[in-house]
């Protein structure tokens, strides 16, 4: 930073000398080249999604026979009806399970992260730095490395194949604590806390009525990212769950896909199911984008 401020300061007087050329502006050619490159990458990113949308509208026969990147006879509603009816309507519970694991898990996890991050940022106590380094160590422990030992532990208490076996491990987010600490340090002024204390407000009340509100944009970020992490977690439900009524939608679709050779109709159904499961999460992200963008900025700059 110091280097940059030096540069800015050293040359500050120069604009006074009048209408000097404002530096080389972008040429038409570079605009075309840059935009062309961006378009090519956008096609790469969006083409598979477009293909998924197109495919979900086809019948099983057209899926194989017609050209993949354009529409054929419109079968989307038939596919949807078949999707929700397959295996006694197991798809809807899958979707709701995913929403519950990811939605409730991220909500609880965000609150716990916010509280812990707040305590680590705003209180001084013995062992604070140690606790924070343990949390940072936790960030580096990948979720997939924990899945097998978690399975063995839950097996010890006979709790595998339950809702809790997937839910409870999901609420822990060391990365959320890390982000919360940064956000709390930046967005909750010490003077305000001191003022609340002098007014006689309890520490908990101060947190829930004031600090939490100040941290709320950051918490949306943490919630969204934890939501995605839980929604994407595949190995943990894969090892924990045998009862397909407890499956999240990703695991359910995976089992369908691996049974295609026995039941070819599962092919079009797992495609339609993929599309249906992706729509809500993409919409949520687009709607809430200004929140997570602000959050990403803080996380990236301070690390």
């Amino acid at each position: 930073m110091s280097l940059l401020t030096d540069t800015a300061g050293a040359h500050a007087p120069r604009p006074a000398s009048g209408t000097a050329p404002r530096g080389p502006r972008e040429s038409r050619l570079s605009v075309i080249a840059a935009t062309g490159f961006l378009v090519v990458i956008a096609v790469y990113m969006l083409l598979p999604v477009f293909w998924l949308v197109v495919s979900a509208t086809k019948s099983q026969g057209d899926l194989v026979d017609s050209f993949g990147l354009w529409f054929s006879d419109f079968h989307l509603f038939d596919n949807l009806r078949a999707l929700f009816a397959k295996q006694d309507g197991v798809y809807l519970p899958w979707l709701l399970n995913s929403l519950l694991y990811a939605g409730a898990g991220a909500a609880v996890g965000t609150l716990l992260s916010a509280m812990a991050g707040y305590a680590l940022a705003k209180y001084r106590f013995r062992g604070r730095e140690f606790l924070f380094s343990v949390v940072l160590g936790g960030v580096l422990v990948p979720a997939t490395a924990l899945a097998l030992p978690l399975f063995l532990l839950f097996a010890e208490v006979d709790a595998t194949n339950t809702f809790w076996a997937v839910f409870l491990p999901s609420i822990v987010s060391p990365f959320g604590v890390y982000l919360s600490r940064i956000f709390a340090a930046a967005s909750v002024p010490d003077e305000l806390l001191e003022a609340a204390r002098i007014d006689g407000a309890g520490e908990l009340r101060t947190f829930f009525t004031m600090s939490l509100r100040l941290m709320s944009p950051a918490m949306v970020t943490i919630f969204l990212f934890q939501f995605v992490v839980i929604w994407n977690n595949f190995l943990l439900p894969l090892v924990m769950l045998q009862d397909d009524r407890l499956y999240p939608v990703t695991l359910g679709l995976f089992t369908w896909q691996s049974q295609v050779s026995r039941d070819p109709s599962l092919q079009i159904l797992s495609l339609t199911g993929s599309l249906v499961s992706v729509v809500p999460i993409v919409i949520t992200f687009l709607v809430l984008q200004r929140y997570w963008k602000a959050g990403l900025a803080a996380g990236a700059v301070k690390s």
Partner: protein
């Protein structure tokens, strides 16, 4: 900072309002109350499993009296680790993900960096649309992304293979020579936008008058990107680098999904798949030793990367 916590917390109020007791006691339990709800599950579901995996990895299950004899668990010290480190398939899987990482991570991060710089420059148009378009894949769960690409690789269904076939080449995306890069493509597709956003957000946090000053000095957009923006992006690039290293060593979802349609992905294709296969065969001790070895390797590599990039910054 932690040297004298009591003095730091209790000092200010006592002087101006002598009658009021310093709220020292209250503040002593408050942090505990805030920390416990996180740390109890954190200990139970992160630290204990790590410890348990380590403990499990020191055991060995033996059968006395033939295949159907009684199972006994005995302490075996580091035997399982010897087994793991001597297991050529496991070592092969580690080598595979290392090769994967050496190619895929630089490609992905370079692409993410270029995209972020372009979206931050004055050269690009339609920035808002591109930003959203690039981030869409991240919203698609790994399993679904892999399912989708599996279809796009499948010669019976894929319009891409179709088009390439008309152009005269017929790549076998699911063959054993291409498989690793087919997986690399899925990972790149999913995470480039996410990494781009982290980098882009770091760029946005820089006050724009720095660039204005450079432009007045006659610096070109390219020079601004190279001399000012990239140095500012160091922390963001290191962050994305570490996350990518962790993700690569832990590769599981994509190969596991592709296994269902291609025989090129063996049961020991990646270290995580190897550990999962062992656990499915009820060989928990060796699976645990594998998980611990992998976690340690991940830790060493990401930590080493941090140290390496940190040292360069100082010099």
């Amino acid at each position: 900072m932690t040297a004298d916590p009591i003095a730091a917390t209790a000092a200010p109020p006592t002087q101006s309002v002598p009658a009021r007791k310093p709220p020292r006691r209250r503040r002593n339990w408050a942090p505990l109350l805030f920390l416990l709800p996180f740390f109890v599950p954190f200990v139970l579901f992160t630290l204990v499993p790590v410890g348990y995996a380590f403990y499990q990895s020191l055991l060995r299950t033996e059968r006395t009296g033939g295949t159907f004899g009684r199972k006994t668990t005995v302490f075996a010290g580091l035997d399982q680790y010897k087994e793991v480190l001597g297991d050529s398939e496991f070592l092969g899987s580690v080598g595979r993900v290392l090769v994967f990482g050496l190619v895929q991570i630089p490609v992905m991060l370079l692409l993410a960096l270029v995209l972020a710089l372009l979206l931050d420059s004055t050269v690009a148009r339609l920035k808002r649309f591109f930003r959203i378009a690039y981030f869409v894949p991240y919203g698609i769960p790994g399993v679904i992304a892999a399912l989708m690409w599996a279809f796009l690789y499948d010669p019976r269904l894929s319009p891409i293979v179709d088009l390439l076939g008309k152009a005269g080449t017929e790549p076998d995306f699911l063959g054993s020579s291409m498989m690793l890069w087919s997986i690399g493509n899925i990972v790149t597709w999913t995470y480039t936008g996410y990494n781009m956003l982290i980098i882009y957000a770091a760029l946005q946090a820089v006050p724009s008058d720095i660039y204005e000053a450079a432009r007045m000095d006659g610096a070109s957009e390219a020079a601004i990107a190279w001399r000012i923006k990239i140095p500012i992006l160091r922390p963001a690039l290191i962050l994305t680098g570490v996350f990518s290293i962790i993700g690569t060593l832990q590769l599981f979802t994509e190969p596991q999904v592709l296994r269902s349609i291609s025989t090129s992905v063996t049961s020991t294709y990646t270290p995580n798949l190897a550990a999962y296969s062992l656990a499915s065969a009820n060989n928990y001790s060796e699976a645990a030793a594998m998980s611990v070895t992998l976690a340690l390797a991940t830790f060493v590599l990401s930590f080493g990367f941090l140290k390496l990039t940190g040292r360069k910054a100082e010099s």
